[in-house]
Symmetry: C2
Subunit: 329 residues, 2 copies
């Protein structure tokens, strides 16, 4: 595996840096989910992670890996979503400044949350301004380090700590062979978990799950080379829609992952409702696609157990109410 | 403490029986909650427990403590709520029959869930039938053991395992002195936690939290003797409304607990919304009253940290949508 951007040793080192700061999320079960899925279902609820998503792991890993004098100058990130909150939180906990570049039409709640974590939010106009130029100029002027959302070794290493936990927790539950379904955008979480498990629990096979119509990773894996999405808009699961897999994440996924799966928006909403009813956790649409696949793709999944990562829970109340409507009162 | 119905040794023995079967729920935090409360807030989310509430602990404890030949005949319980599901689940996991006596006008979902856990649900007409008589006849005929909802030693011991976990987790978080707010109905959970912590973490002071207008425990503690509620109906937090504290739980609470607190239905709904937004956990109204007190009674709470137990998450979607409406979109 020496061709990859990182090794398991990098994930182990990230786990050491994360210890005491990141939550070890539990592995949840419900007999009701088992019945729907036709096999035992284990859910890794990263929505219970700090900031409500796994992104806190990668952000902490990246920031904690910087040289102290570099880190002290601060970090910068481009994001209006979970990555923004993860970076803002990790920076605050490290006592360093964070600049988050967001489009000016980002939801007010997300801007407010990112600011509440202590970050400086810089808004840009998507139509008239070049965010990369704004970011590069600020980074240059202040000496800020860029924290990429997925295609960076220390970010992948941080997300991979989820895989170390799953490997341990699955063994404790007596599960040595199972498909591990992971909500997949650019592939940071998916590739990190795949690397960790290939080393620690080779019977656990990682498979990326994406929204239907935005399955660039599944198509890339099938083709053996990177494929792009035709469009970026129109999915309720927009938090995990990316143009294409990362240059660093794709080779890892290509070598280690099983075939990708895709689910509809309605299946994602229904999985959010099941997570509410049966696990009492809050999942966002993009964070529910892996559970949706576990519940709705039983013929495409192998083995008598399946593990699904719920990657985040940052959903606005209106969208959540929509998910609950499907199950009535 | 020898006057009490149980001792810490009983809680420790229950913890041994529960090990590997009951979830050790985490202790969650959010800087947003800290800001609202004006101190550090730690939440013990028993909504993430099996069956969605702490009741699984007491049920498991009671059933596992029966003599094997007695246990094999089965158990019986009166409940249309969390206790029903806890008993049904624990009985199923022990491979024994469970009979749950419910009013015929109980919500269809709760009846269905209890049946789905494998229990035999016996419905009675609240207006024309005597549930105690029905239950006693069935118990007699089949040799079923009654599992009480709170006023039984092994049930209190099981709920008390929550307190052993809180004591350990608070110490890990560096909290040695704090009010521990517990959603309180008959006092099984409150008295169990109080006993555990009096032994393991004497700086943690348990305080019961009830719905306003149904604060029989708070008034009983203040009076030094048992007081009843005037009425049983009309609270959204009906899951924790009981006529009066238990004969076994009251002496424990009276000796070990601080003054009770009470919150309004609106405060409970608002706390459900904060749990959704900040912790990504699903709380039911009665399960949210302790968090509501942590967030809204800052002048009545002592110390720079507070621990709130979220005792359950079994709420129907319509009620949940109502809680979320308060925070808009």
């Amino acid at each position: 595996m020496s061709d990859f951007a990182i090794s398991v040793a990098d994930i182990e080192a990230a786990a050491d840096r994360l210890a005491g700061h990141i939550r070890r999320t539990p592995l949840l079960t419900s007999p009701f989910l088992d019945e729907i899925a036709g096999r035992r279902v284990f859910v890794k609820p990263e929505c219970l992670q700090h900031t409500g998503s796994f992104k806190a792991r990668g952000a902490w890993s990246a920031i904690s890996a910087l040289e102290p004098e570099v880190r002290a100058k601060g970090v910068i990130a481009f994001s209006s979503g979970n990555h923004a909150q993860g970076v803002a939180w990790a920076a605050k906990m490290h006592g360093i400044p964070a600049v988050i570049i967001m489009p000016s039409d980002a939801p007010a709640l997300k801007i407010a949350n990112t600011r509440a974590y202590g970050a400086e939010v810089v808004l840009y106009d998507r139509l008239t301004e070049d965010r990369d130029k704004i970011g590069a100029e600020m980074a240059e002027a202040r000496g800020l380090s860029l924290v990429k959302p997925f295609d960076a070794p220390m970010v992948i290493a941080g997300q991979g700590t989820t895989g170390l936990e799953i490997a341990e927790q699955a063994a404790e539950a007596g599960v040595n062979r199972a498909d591990v379904l992971v909500c997949c955008g650019g592939g940071g979480l998916t590739s990190g978990i795949a690397l960790a498990q290939a080393d620690r629990a080779p019977g656990l096979r990682v498979r990326p799950v994406e929204p239907e119509g935005f399955d660039d990773v599944a198509r890339s894996l099938a083709a053996g080379e990177i494929r792009r999405n035709d469009t970026m808009g129109g999915s309720l699961c927009d938090a995990i829609v990316t143009p294409q897999p990362g240059d660093l994440t794709f080779p890892i996924m290509s070598a280690l992952c099983g075939p990708g799966l895709a689910v509809s928006d309605d299946e994602a909403l229904s999985a959010m409702a099941e997570a509410f009813l049966r696990l009492k956790i809050v999942a966002e649409p993009g964070g529910a696609v892996a559970l949706a696949a576990a519940l709705n793709r039983k013929d495409r999944i192998e083995g008598d157990a399946v593990i699904a990562v719920v990657s985040g829970g940052n959903v606005d109340p209106a969208m959540y109410a929509r998910a609950l409507e499907a199950i009535g009162t």
